[in-house]
Symmetry: C2
Subunit: 340 residues, 2 copies
């Protein structure tokens, strides 16, 4: 194990997996934590109901960017994580770590944005905390949100339920958030302006579940992008996943930026997209429900699940436009630090 | 309103109250948030049960100190906040914001400490998140914990239920945590060594509730100390509170350090103490239950509640050992930054 914390330990890729396995699980690895879904699903003592519970901290820089800001991300990110369990997100907590000297007007703007995103998602911010660190020991504003909601009876989603034969959908174009942040930082401009996709997807998830109850799982491809998310799912379920490159929706401007800068768009972060694995016979229904939602217009069926080969572990493969197939690996180090 | 964030906005005193009122409540002040208790108590859709939900971020420096570390604080602080509602704390989330270069061994030590505190409290860490910020933009480690638990049927606690005639208890000596942190920072040493009081108090709270069901509220006097906590409660209930200075338990070494350094011990932070307001006829039962718990051996009855005078707002008063009475004000600015 590395002797110090490195940026890659927060990347969403294999270095992060290592710090989680070797430090956090080693110290306090509960079954729920080890399950590895975005929200823990927890029995509540009295009545047999299940609580979905999730947490996320946000350290994105810059704080404001086209399509959103750190406040919108903080609400949408946790709403989406709770919703992946099939739960109805109801309540959010909000913990600020502010740096001395941060402009109060920027804080107001962030809070207003959080309020708007919460309203759109239909959740309430019900509890909070504020810490201030001395100048030079923070970076303006960090936000933690945690979220809670009840899982409807009979609903149980998670990567562990994926089976060979299932289909893989994605709710829209990939890479928009990561490339927008990167272009803000580098002051790049493109002929078609880019925007972050930050959005609350709980209503989209509810629509898909209503149309296709045999969804196995949802997962939002944030840090580490689609590649890391699919590798997590393949490992969790012990299956292979094959993605058709030509079917993956990517905006031309985003693809152009990736080509120019040497990024693999499948490893770039998204903040308003959902991966959905569903039984084959309900894949079309799920896709239609996604496309009928404003945040899912560009949804696509991008791949399918098969049994893992006996001679190696579960793998994710990409069938390229040229017809060749290559392994699609999890992000290893850090591609774009502090993307969310 | 101030134009930038200042350290005092995180103090637990009146500046923090201002940023909460004028920024956070203004943007997204839900009824639950405005209620002003340490944990929100929330209806869950299906079954009439109530969820207690609370969040806290920890930025204490140094990370390790006599009696505890940032990990123990992070678990105990949130367990205690959830427990103040009368709920049984069950589940914790844990969000780390790590600075690049933080020693992995220190992180392991913190996680081990969190695991021990969680075990003692009987809670599970069920969901987590890890972010890494670049060197110079954090301070080693910040931790957010959020906590959830069910409130038993019929239990409803909160500052709003305090009535004239009630009694005020505190579960032990005051100022231990704040003065320990301060003496670490300043490398002061005392003839009697000081220790932080960081401790999970959920079992103590359960013991008190079993013995004295007419408890009105619990609140832990962390940032801003007893003075700020009592002012919050007085304002929430619209009552006066009078404290007998001679009855407030303070260790001689802590009082000595306060006298030497010019701190008011009643404004110094605690991390393992609980203020309890209880109906007068159950005050002795509550006190006995506290004293029977290992974390409540020095518990004391320190004051009582009366109707607020018509000619001014609710006030907290201190009757000194000399027999005079003075107003005991909320902490205004910042006394000891980053105490938790």
């Amino acid at each position: 194990m590395d002797e110090t914390v490195m940026l890659g330990h927060g990347s969403g890729g294999s270095m992060m997996k290592r710090i989680i396995d070797e430090v956090f699980f080693d110290a306090y690895g509960s079954d729920e934590l080890r399950e590895g879904n975005d929200a823990a699903v927890l029995p509540l003592d009295q009545n047999g109901g299940s609580l979905a519970f999730s947490t996320d901290s946000f350290v994105v820089t810059p704080h404001f960017f086209p399509g959103g800001d750190i406040g919108r991300l903080a609400v949408c990110g946790t709403v989406n994580d709770v919703a992946t369990s099939g739960a109805v997100p109801q309540y959010l907590s909000c913990g600020f770590i502010l740096e001395e000297g941060f402009p109060m007007d920027d804080l107001r703007r962030i809070c207003t944005s959080m309020a708007e995103a919460a309203k759109e998602a239909g959740v309430k911010i019900v509890t909070g905390d504020t810490k201030v660190v001395n100048r030079g020991h923070g970076d303006g504003v960090f936000i933690n949100t945690s979220g809670a909601g009840m899982v409807p009876p009979g609903v149980r989603l998670g990567g562990q339920f994926i089976q060979p034969g299932d289909k893989v959908l994605v709710s829209g174009t990939l890479g928009d958030h990561g490339i927008t942040i990167m272009s803000c930082r580098e002051s790049l401009s493109f002929t078609s302006p880019l925007e972050s996709d930050a959005a609350p997807l709980n209503h989209l998830i509810a629509d898909v579940l209503a149309a296709a109850p045999n969804v196995r799982c949802f997962r939002d491809p944030t840090r580490g992008g689609l590649a890391s998310t699919l590798n997590e799912l393949a490992e969790q379920a012990g299956v292979d996943i094959t993605v058709e490159e030509a079917d993956v929706p990517v905006k031309p401007a985003v693809q152009g930026a990736c080509d120019m800068l040497g990024y693999d768009v499948l490893q770039v972060a998204n903040e308003g997209k959902m991966v959905c694995v569903v039984a084959a016979d309900q894949a079309e229904a799920a896709l239609a429900a996604m496309r009928a939602n404003p945040y899912g217009r560009d949804a696509a069926l991008i791949g399918d699940v098969s049994a893992a080969r006996a001679d190696r572990g579960p793998k994710v493969m990409l069938r390229t436009a040229l017809g060749s197939t290559r392994f699609l690996d999890m992000l290893v180090g850090e591609q774009l630090p502090r993307i969310c």
